[in-house]
């Protein structure tokens, strides 16, 4: 690998790298995101490799194969995209490999059965960018994810990587960079939405030579995985953002605090750091600017609360991840007591793009108060699960129906939970609101770090709220009383309601307690923990009342309020349910209708999931 000392050398190297790329050479990209890997994309990739070796040996054909980062369309993995045409194949299996090479590469014909079929129009779509899932997106940060091999810095550089860094180090002063960030209107993508430029300025103004920048990659929200995909698919982008930020703030040491549960992201990030060090883009005197910067990785050890910045700092310092009160803010008194800036992965990844395209251009995307794009991981009861990057201000309806492809099995949309356990839910009547910081807040939700869980008509909102409450309750560090005991009290009340033991007044108690927990808790975790409950009460109070007063669960979910029974006409007497019932609550003879003993039944739902004849009824 080359070693770069000046801006000139970077340009020269990039030119030589670009020159090597043959624009006409077919390139097969296989998605290597964790989702596709679970589907077996690694095997697909190996098969392509073998096929290539085979072809080359017979001097028949030349093409390139690479594993890229996550394409985002996880629902249809493993994904294979063939460039330069951009043909996308979904659900590719090893057995399809030979055919793809034979048909698409050699004969330039498209294999129709592997194409994505739009469920709305039943139309086969050939090119990746024409798929509705991608068509409505604005992929700034995720743009390169599907194109480059994240384990090679050369690919990033040949795509223009580190050009923003060069621009900054050669022609901008730290103040210019901060000014540019302020003008871009970028707001922290970790959830709170504090203007990034101002945060940097505050840190820059602090006295002292030692400062730190931290990348918060402790993505703890259940159901959110965009940080993971960026780290896996384009770690250099994040590093570049951090170097620029460190330069602007005068920091010489950076940390990436990343979840232990993301082994692939850690691996790619490690590789990216060592490559950047080897090339000279990290270390002493970067590009001959006199600026030094190094980055270390710290692994999170499985505590959601460490996503809170003061807890994260404590954790890096080797203590338990207990938040401390602010002020003083980390910008004044952070890691080891020094001024520290913490930004989310997505914020750091936005920085090189802003510098590259200019703050005016960036500020033209989005709404009056919220600029740029935002990434959602759209999960739950939705057709196209995946990562979606859209301009801020897009409507929820567009996001769920146009990009997300709507609700599966023809069911109806009930609510969307935005912002994970700290956020709130938005019901169907507000589907047309623009997604931006202010509108969401007015509905009792938050932008959060970008988790978006879609709930269909079969979701019980009380159970849904209890799920999030259980999560925050388990993840509470236990330091302050409202969060430690208060969330437990709320959870127990919710569980009581779900079990059919709700009492009149419970809902008011939840509201009262929730409001006080929000106002009195020490850190963001406690201050937002009641949100899911409060927002579900706000929009689905009737469902709570149904549980408490009528003792029914309208969505037939809550175990305490439902009964399982056998639909006589559907039951074939196959005995599958009988054998699988863990409590032995089902009786019946072969080829006779079975009966469920309601006293023994624990409503585990096992019979329902094993029955092939839809003969189990839940009421």
């Amino acid at each position: 690998m080359v070693s770069i000392h000046t801006a000139q050398e970077l340009d020269t190297w990039r030119e030589s790298l670009t020159a090597k790329v043959d624009p006409d050479l077919p390139v097969i990209t296989v998605c290597g995101g964790t989702g596709c890997r679970v589907y077996g994309s690694e095997k697909v990739w190996t098969a392509f490799q073998d096929e290539l070796t085979n072809q080359k040996a017979n001097a028949r054909l030349n093409y390139d194969v690479k594993v890229t980062g996550c394409h985002g369309f996880c629902e249809k993995g493993p994904l294979v995209v063939i460039h330069p045409q951009g043909i996308m194949y979904t659900n590719v299996k090893v057995s399809d490999v030979a055919e793809i090479v034979g048909e698409t590469i050699v004969n330039n014909t498209v294999i129709e059965r592997l194409l994505y079929v739009d469920p709305q129009t039943n139309e086969e779509i050939e090119c990746e960018q024409d798929v509705p899932f991608y068509k409505h997106q604005h992929r700034l940060i995720l743009g390169l994810n599907g194109l480059l091999d994240p384990t090679r810095i050369e690919e990033y550089i040949s795509q223009g990587g580190f050009d923003s860094l060069k621009k900054v180090l050669v022609s901008l002063s730290p103040e210019d960079v901060i000014e540019e960030m302020k003008k871009s209107g970028l707001r922290g993508r970790g959830g709170a939405g504090f203007p990034t430029g101002f945060k940097w300025e505050l840190c820059r103004q602090q006295p002292g030579d030692v400062k730190y920048v931290i990348c918060n990659a402790d993505e703890g929200d259940p159901g959110a995985y965009m940080d993971r995909s960026i780290m896996e698919g384009n770690p250099h982008l994040v590093l570049e953002g951090m170097i620029i930020g460190a330069y602007a703030m005068g920091a010489n040491q950076g940390y990436v605090y990343i979840r232990n549960e993301y082994p692939l992201a850690v691996k790619h990030l490690r590789q990216a750091i060592s490559q950047a060090e080897e090339v000279g883009l990290l270390g002493k005197n970067i590009l001959d600017s006199g600026f030094d910067f190094t980055v270390k990785i710290k692994l999170g050890s499985g505590a959601f609360v460490c996503g809170e910045e003061t807890a994260l700092i404590a954790s890096i310092e080797g203590q338990i991840g207990e938040p401390r009160p602010r002020p003083p803010y980390p910008a004044e008194f952070g890691l080891w007591g020094k001024p520290t800036n913490i930004n989310n992965v997505k914020s750091w990844a936005s920085v090189p793009i802003i510098i590259d395209k200019g703050s005016d251009w960036y500020a033209s995307i989005g709404t009056e108060t919220s600029k740029g794009t935002v990434i959602f991981s759209v999960v739950g009861n939705i057709n196209n699960t995946g990562l979606v990057e859209v301009p801020i201000g897009i409507s929820l309806r567009e996001l769920i129906f146009d990009i997300g492809g709507g609700i599966p099995d023809g069911k109806s949309f009930k609510a969307a939970q935005i912002g994970g356990p700290s956020g709130g839910c938005i019901p169907a009547e507000h589907l047309d609101i623009p997604i931006d910081y202010e509108s969401l807040q007015s509905l009792g939700a938050i932008m959060g770090s970008g988790g978006l869980v879609v709930a269909d008509e079969d979701t019980c909102m009380v159970d849904f709220a209890a799920y999030f409450m259980r999560f925050t309750q388990e993840e509470s560090c236990g330091k302050c009383v409202p969060c430690r005991v208060g969330t437990k009290a709320m959870l127990e009340t919710l569980e009581r309601i779900c079990a059919g033991d709700g009492q009149p007044g419970d809902v008011d108690y939840l509201i009262e307690l929730g409001e006080e927990i929000k106002r009195s808790s020490l850190c963001g975790l406690g201050q937002t923990a009641p949100n899911p409950v409060l927002s579900t009460i706000r929009y689905f109070r009737d469902e709570y009342e149904a549980h408490i007063v009528d003792k029914t669960c309208p969505a037939s979910v809550c175990k305490g309020l439902i009964t399982y029974s056998v639909i006589d006409e559907n039951c074939t007497g196959c005995m599958v349910c009988l054998r699988n019932c863990p409590e032995g609550a089902i009786q019946g003879e072969k080829k006779e209708v079975h009966v469920i003993d309601a006293d023994l039944c624990t409503r585990c739902g096992m019979c329902m999931s094993v029955c092939k004849f839809d003969a189990i009824l839940v009421e």
């Binding site: 609360v305 009383v481 409202p482 208060g486």
Partner: protein, 235 residues
């Protein structure tokens, strides 16, 4: 020297004061559990919440023990919002420590009538962390810490067994606001070196008397005599 308004009266405090310190120095009562002047503030019990409005920001509740006095801040220590917050917090504290007299007195003061949530087992420890911090900051030993997290949190020695670092000084017992720690717990958990060494009488090499300085004998004569004389004088 920031100037600020607490409960309508303007006061001036030296740089670096917390709101709680300012209140205490001016005789304004604010209840706390986890605060001790000799320790670093911790901000965990949330009883000392006060309402701060520093325009243009909307008013909000902050823990006064950790919140610095800011120039021109307007602080209310007994507003409706403050009382409501404290009331909830006291009710939550009573969920575990339902018989603690101090908490019951506070409950009376803030009108907590009903405890709507109780933990299955009574636990006097309210996890204020005073003992842990005192052990580390005052005693300098750090024999105990807050282990686990969330509801499972508790004060304990490492591995929840005898600690060889504990010096059984009892500071944790003294500082505990709810009397949740007994020294028995600690002495049970620590081992005094040399505990089983046998005690032997030591004889004075000069006077052969048991371990008692020989002059005492003479002194007794003198002193008793003196005392008798004194009494004689009195009579």
């Amino acid at each position: 020297m920031p100037k600020l308004t607490i409960n309508g009266s303007e006061i001036q405090v030296p740089e670096g004061r917390s709101v709680l310190e300012a209140c205490r120095e001016h005789g304004i009562p604010v209840p706390t559990l986890c605060y001790h002047p000799a320790l670093e503030p911790y901000g965990a019990c949330r009883l000392c919440m006060v309402e701060v409005s520093s325009p243009p920001r909307p008013s909000r509740l902050v823990a006064s023990c950790v919140h610095p006095c800011e120039e021109d801040a307007v602080i209310e220590t007994d507003s409706e919002a403050v009382r409501k917050s404290r009331k909830t917090t006291i009710e939550l504290l009573l969920a575990g420590a339902h018989n603690d007299p101090m908490l019951l007195a506070l409950a009376e003061e803030y009108g907590v009538k009903e405890i709507r949530f109780t933990l299955p087992e009574e636990d006097l420890c309210v996890l204020c962390g005073l003992c842990v911090r005192a052990c580390r900051e005052i005693v300098g030993v750090g024999a105990i810490s807050l282990i686990n997290r969330g509801m499972a949190r508790k004060v304990s020695t490492p591995f929840q067994i005898a600690s060889s670092t504990c010096i059984a000084c009892g500071t944790c017992v003294l500082i505990c606001p709810t009397d949740a720690i007994k020294l028995k717990d600690i002495t049970h958990f620590h081992s005094v070196h040399g505990a089983d060494s046998e005690f032997e009488r030591v004889y004075c090499q000069i006077c052969d008397d048991v371990d008692l300085s020989p002059v005492v004998i003479q002194d007794v004569d003198v002193l008793v005599g003196a005392k008798v004389d004194q009494e004689a004088d009195l009579e």
